[in-house]
Amino acid sequence: MSPAPLFAIVDDDEALRQALAELLEVSGFDCMTFADADAFLADYAPGRFSGLVTDLNLPGMNGQQLQQHIRLVDPRLPVIVISAQSDPAIRARALASGALAYLTKPINDQVLFRHLDAALSRFPPPTAD
């Protein structure tokens, strides 16, 4: 039996980070939260996460840099970018870099779940060998 899918949430805003974790919990998703990219990368291992939800504005390495980094080390990991900015150029850049979705805050929960489901169906969690 495959392990329950685990999502990573990276956002420097504690209130929003907690809110997203609660939202995933009520819908039966497991998740871990991180305040910045470095904290996430410290816990990262290939195949550990079924998807990454990251804020774009992060202290230190920002969301875009994190996304580019993940693309190099784990191109199969779905990345959903969330941001308070609705700048079309930034959105286009994120999608061009391979983001599964670009969601602007405040996050529409149904849209988020649709993308989480899509992440799971397109990139099913690795089976335990």
């Binding site: 209130a15 929003l16 609660e22 939202l23 009520v26 504005n57 992060l58 308070a84 405040p106 929960d109």
Partner: protein, 558 residues
């Protein structure tokens, strides 16, 4: 006027052009001048000072001729001298001689003529004073006094006269309101008070407030220049000539303070006060008085008044304009930070929405998880408060308001300012670090204004680094104690620095090297820092980048 005719006749009869003539009314002085006994007139007693003063105070001027005005250095117009007591007009040295002469006339027959020698008077030497009673029996109390002498040819006296002319010219042409005051009568009153052992004039005037009134009524404005006429809104000079109380009408208590200063022999007296002009305006002026010291003429106290009304009004207006300007600059900075601010508000709103949706999901279950819902609604409240605080801060920053000084922690001011630019700096990949100094003493200042200084410096630093490689954009803020009285904040960026030639000019208004920049951010910083008693300087760091240093005085221990 029959008295004029008498005087004219008299002068013409004597044909002495330089004779000075006085027409005096002695009706009030009978009791003081007449002897009760009829002993030998040659044995008249010496005057006691108080008798002399009282007698001469009771003798009133009816008229004088122009020669007398010149000879006695009288100021003011001929008609204004009428009814004044002779005591305040007659020179000290010959007062007892005059009293002797008047007493002899009072005790002599209607045709008596008395002559006294008084030596020197003004530019005259060998002065002879002649007195007689009016020939008209209907005017038994009118006495004429004529003074004749020869002009002292000494050039010193001519020089004195010329210098007096120059002095008069100087007063009249001085571009400041000036009153010339004769306070001899008050000085004599003070002498008597001292003779009676009174030294604490402040206490004495408290117990006898009427003394101030009396002192003021006998002190006379004897001359005024055109500036003073304009200041007091008088129609002409003569309106100001006379008793002095009008000068003190705008500020109760000022007359007493001046009286005390005069009594105490203070050389110069300065007071900022208000005058009530003759046409009813209140003006803020500085009063500057120089009192004569012993040996100087007591008839020329100079009172100078510097009108501050226009300056104070201009200052108030300037403050208003400055406030408007600061507000405009704040708004323009806030405008530049719109994205940052929007982000800042959207963050808690986003958390609120997600928490609300999660709550609904918990509630929609067959067995609602109420503890979860309670936890989430608590978080909703916290985020809503945070959003409200952010909006409050922005309103604070944008609101038109008078500065309010409170005790502030500089580190706290910097941290709050950072919230405004945090997301802007993340967008621009600028790494910001604050190294807060420990145990900083509090400063006294306006929170919003000081935040504005920090925000402006940070916005300025971020703009300076727009050509800098993204990985190298850094702003280091350090707060520290700077000596016993100051705290400092330094803001260093890793941009290209300020061209050395511009270092002195960066704080000038409308100085900008940025395209589209107003160039007022740093000018505002300087104006705010200066108004807090601090300093702001710009320099370049030896390792590159600009470094701005703000020092603010610490609050005095309350």
């Amino acid at each position: 006027m029959s008295n004029d005719a008498d005087l004219f006749e008299l002068s013409a009869h004597r044909r002495l052009a330089r004779d000075a003539c006085w027409q005096l009314d002695v009706s009030g002085a009978h009791a003081l001048l007449q002897r009760s006994d009829q002993s030998d007139p040659a044995a008249l007693p010496e005057w006691r000072q108080d008798q002399l003063d009282r007698a001469l105070a009771a003798v009133r001027v009816r008229d004088v001729n122009e020669e007398a005005i010149r000879l006695f250095g009288l100021t003011g117009d001929r008609e204004r001298l009428t009814a004044r007591p002779i005591s305040i007009l007659w020179p000290e040295q010959s007062r007892s001689v005059l009293a002797d002469l008047l007493r002899a006339l009072a005790n002599g027959g209607p045709d008596a003529v008395e002559t006294r020698e008084i030596g020197v008077l003004g530019p005259l030497v060998d002065v002879v004073m002649t007195g007689w009673r009016a020939a008209d029996p209907r005017c038994p109390d009118i006495v004429f006094v004529r003074l004749s002498g020869t002009l002292n040819p000494s050039s010193a006296l001519l020089e004195l006269e010329a210098s007096q002319d120059r002095y008069r010219n100087m007063i009249s042409s001085l571009p400041l309101p000036l009153l010339q005051v004769d306070a001899r009568a008050a000085a004599r009153m003070f002498e008597r008070l001292r003779a009676n052992g009174i030294t604490d004039i402040a206490a004495y005037t408290r117990d006898h407030p009427e003394l101030v009134e009396i002192a003021c009524d006998i002190v006379l404005v004897t001359d005024a220049n055109n500036e003073a006429v304009a200041l007091f809104g008088a129609k002409d000079r003569t309106e100001l000539i006379g008793p002095i109380p009008f000068v003190f009408a705008g500020t109760p208590g000022s007359a007493r303070r001046v009286t005390i200063a005069h009594f105490q022999g203070i050389r110069n007296y300065v007071e900022d006060f208000q005058i009530l002009t003759l046409d009813g305006r209140m003006l803020d002026v500085s009063l500057l008085m120089t009192f004569p010291v012993s040996g100087e003429r007591h008839d020329t106290i100079l009172m100078m008044m510097v009108d501050h009304t226009a300056r104070l009004q201009a200052e108030a207006k300037l403050r208003q304009v400055e406030n408007d300007f600061h507000r405009a600059a704040r708004l323009s900075t806030l405008g530049e930070l719109t994205a940052s601010i929007a982000h800042e508000v959207r963050q808690p709103l986003s958390a609120i929405l997600t928490n609300a949706e999660t709550s609904q999901r918990w509630l929609a279950r067959d067995e609602p998880n109420l503890p979860k819902v309670q936890q989430l609604t608590e978080r909703i409240s916290a985020s809503a408060r945070r959003a409200s605080d952010i909006i409050g801060r922005i309103q604070d920053a944008a609101r038109k308001r008078e500065p309010v000084r409170t005790r502030l922690d500089l580190n706290e001011v910097v941290r709050q300012a950072l919230l405004f630019v945090r997301h802007d700096s993340q967008d621009k990949s600028v790494k910001m670090t604050l190294t807060p100094g420990e145990d900083l003493p509090p400063i006294l200042g306006d929170r919003v204004q000081l935040q504005q200084v920090v925000v402006n410096l940070l916005v300025n630093a971020m703009q300076a680094m727009r050509e800098t490689e993204r990985d190298h954009r850094e702003i280091c803020m350090v707060t520290a104690v700077d000596g016993p009285d100051m705290v400092e904040l330094t803001v260093r960026d890793t941009g290209p620095g300020v061209p050395p030639a511009d270092l002195d000019r960066v704080f000038e208004g409308f100085f900008s090297t940025k395209e589209g920049g107003m160039g007022i951010g740093l000018a505002i910083c300087q104006s705010i820092v200066t108004s807090h008693g601090g300093r702001i300087t710009a320099a370049n760091h030896p390792d590159g980048g600009a470094i701005f240093r703000v020092t603010i005085p610490v609050a005095t221990k309350a």
